[in-house]
Amino acid sequence: MQATNLTDQNLETATFLSSARKGGRGVFRAIVANPKISFGVGVVAVFVLAAIAAPLLTPYDPSAHVITTGVSRSVPPSAAHIFGTTGLGQDLFSQILYGARISLVIGFVAAIGSTLLQVLMGLTAAYFGGIIDEILSLITNIFLVLPGLPLTIVLASLAKASSVGQNELTIAIVLLFTSWSYGARVLRAQTLSIKEREFVSAARANGESALRIIFVEILPNEIALVASTFVGTFVYAIGAEVALEFLGLGDISSPSWGVILYWAQVNGALIVGKWWQFVPAGLCVAVLCASLTFVNFGIDELANPNLRSERLMKKKKKSVVA
């Protein structure tokens, strides 16, 4: 889970968001202004566009066996096949493009679901306190301490065995249930600190309903944190989903990045030196996850300016006295 620890993000940074809230334009300008976020979002956009425009970018059907003759169906990268072909002679470039769809969709669905769960668990636990807080925190901490991936593997493999069958939705749901705990703990911590602030007791003294206080007064002040945990969960989901497919727990017939790597491992691409069977797919996962983590750093810096690398400030005149 790459989510950074934002528990001590103080409220003054929310004023940054409010100053950028002069209208949608303000927020957009603030995001584009931050180099890390714009770079990260840019790369992710490239993946998304490539996934959508897959049919335009590659003539081949991802699962069609294009190379059927010759010593080995798996040919290295060439003009015809930019990323070469798989062990069964399928075009790797189109598999990666179509595969991007699966990874992005599963990652996104798991991340959205998990973030909703995090907000629900974190905010209710923090706001109501008492016994509710004790129970919810206990559950959160248990899920946090239990190793995420093994649990996911167990769930996924059992799902595969039973009649639930093996499809992307099960993987997304499994990922959802094993990735929410960190975000919930971080959100709970911050909600606890905001709950103590006086504008919340003012709203409560004014007779506002608990629901309204949580979702209208407290949550908007945590947007930076929610965004950051969402991105963090997205990265975790992609990584876990690719890992599951690599273990053969995904739908090995439909081409996705993890499945490409699964067949690379099964065909022993490593030993026979067919590097193109696993390098491009692996790189795509790495670049996507790295760019998303970059977005996370950008959000961190938006929320906590003194984390920004000092280098940018140093360009100014040298001070008279060290």
Binding site: L155, A240, V287, S309
Partner: protein
């Protein structure tokens, strides 16, 4: 002391939760668990003993009530009887796990220790020398490495250093042909050689987490008054950085140990598969590959147990490091 008791209580509950998951999940899945397995196995000659093994593994005897099955299951597990591994019939799951656990513990332990040490040091120096050139180059580099899936990093390293350059062995835990496991020198040296690439994979993969956590907390700690006072006291830079700033900045890293531990353990499972390193990960892989659910759940439980013990150890370290917690005022 009360703080430790409370934490120990929590970890026992967590262990109980892990056990219950193992018991509940197969039952949650729609369809009769036993027939589903049999269908899965597709092996024709299913001996009666195998059916019994599966039933025992699932604690599934039709006449007993769920509650009884649960109790039966629990005391079976507590006595270390994790059922029979259907994929390597008749060996018991417990034996397989006992054989492979030391390898994983060694691998994860050493790489976690190394990456924590190196990562925290790099993070500290980066925060201390903020604004220097590597403060803007190292984070992006590390972010990329940490975003790379562990198993892919393993594949890449194995391919480059193992297969092509041949510097390090790229598969197995030790040289199966020439050495026999035991406390003899060449076995140990061969085991160490074989562990180099997996350890490097895990260290590089998890380094970013430690570096960035430490850098961020160090940056905030450096702006604290007690660091300014240490400087005002005219203490040497090194002492101020270690005794005042780092000593406090390390605390959040230790508390976030549990999250990173989970990540590194998950990473090691996949790395072991690529290097077919004889650890729990490999056992898990064969279990998944051959739908051996007893072994699968056994692996999960052992991993969960190891992670819980490691977390409790990290809490002990935290109590040692932070006097405020020692008086139970957590």
């Amino acid at each position: 002391m009360r703080f430790l008791l409370r934490r120990a209580g929590f970890y026992l509950i967590a262990l109980w939760a892990a056990l219950s998951f193992n018991f509940v999940i197969p039952r949650l899945m729609p369809g009769n668990p036993v027939t589903a397995y049999l269908a899965k196995l597709q092996t024709t000659n299913i001996t009666h003993a195998q059916i019994l093994a599966i039933q025992k593994m699932l604690g599934f005897n039709p006449d007993a009530s769920i509650g009884q099955q649960y109790v039966e299951y629990l005391n079976a597990v507590l006595h270390g009887d994790l059922g029979i591994a259907t994929s390597q019939y008749p060996t018991r799951v417990g034996d397989i796990l006992a054989r492979s656990l030391p390898w994983t513990v060694g691998l994860v332990g050493s790489s976690l220790f190394l990456s924590f040490l190196i990562g925290t040091l790099i993070g500290m120096v980066m925060a201390w020398k903020r604004g220097s050139w590597y403060d803007t180059t190292v984070p992006p580099l590390l972010t990329f490495f940490s975003a790379v899936p562990y198993f892919w990093m393993a594949l890449a390293l194995a391919f480059i250093f193992g297969v092509n350059l041949g510097w390090f062995p790229s598969s197995d835990g030790y040289d199966v042909y020439t050495t026999t496991p035991g406390w003899n020198l060449d076995f140990i040296s061969s085991a160490v050689q074989h562990s180099i690439l997996p350890v490097v994979t895990l260290v590089v993969g998890s380094l970013a987490q430690w570096v960035l956590t430490m850098r961020n907390t160090m940056v905030t700690t450096l702006s604290e008054d007690y660091v300014l006072m240490a400087r005002a006291k005219g203490l040497p830079e090194r002492r101020t950085m270690f005794n005042y700033a780092a000593r406090n900045a390390i605390l959040p890293s230790v508390t976030s140990f549990s999250i990173s531990l989970g990540l590194v353990v998950s990473g090691s499972l996949l790395t072991e598969i690529v290097f077919n390193y004889p650890g729990i990960g490999y056992a898990l892989y064969t279990a998944v590959f051959q739908s051996d659910y007893a072994l699968l759940e056994g692996c999960f439980m052992v991993i969960a147990l190891a992670v819980l013990i490691a977390n409790f150890a990290s809490e002990l370290v935290y109590v040692f490091l932070d006097p405020r917690v020692r008086q139970g005022r957590s």
